[in-house]
Amino acid sequence: MSYQEKNITVSLVNFTLILGFYFIRVFQMIQGGSFNPTNVFRLWGIVIILGIVVTILGTILTHIVSAIIQAIKTKQEPDIRDIQDERDTIIDLRGTKITYIAYSIGVFLSMLTFALNQPPLVMFTLLVFFGLLAQVIGDISRLYLYRRGF
């Protein structure tokens, strides 16, 4: 598995966990009757900060853990090659395109809630949900492209 694939796998795990956390928190709010703008927007903040911090930490940890595993395996100075070549760039671009398509569909579905006479809070809640889901779908498509080839 290349460095890029490891990074995408870590991102996929992170965003799946954040998506799960978000889903559970929203569900708890609805169950507990605390589904109001203050709590929802606080959750927005937590999720966005979590996404940024976890992505940065994940990248650093991937680097460190890869180096340690390689050093143990080869018993030599670790040689981490994290260059991004043309294939990595194309896969990244295709993944980004899929992420945008998924998010666009998500935004459209979120807007539909207005047509169904739902309050704006539902739309805002769904926007973040589909944003996280689009990131997960993008990561899965990148991994698929690495495995399957194109």
Partner: protein, 75 residues
Amino acid sequence: MGKSRVRNNIRKLRFFRDEMTQQQLADKVGVTRQTIIAMEQEKYSPSLELAFRIALVFDVPLDQVFSYDAEDDSN
């Protein structure tokens, strides 16, 4: 998706260059080993620039490294 129509002799050419490793070739042309593997398995068609760089490493004309399978076009 899947197999590319661009065929190549990279594996054979590596063999005739004293069994050059995929990593050595990758370092010489400035890509990752995974990209060389994908090309050898015909899962990835390189850019024209990378194709020329690979041909230069083996010191052979481009058409001795890469060829195009036109049969699929007629189907």
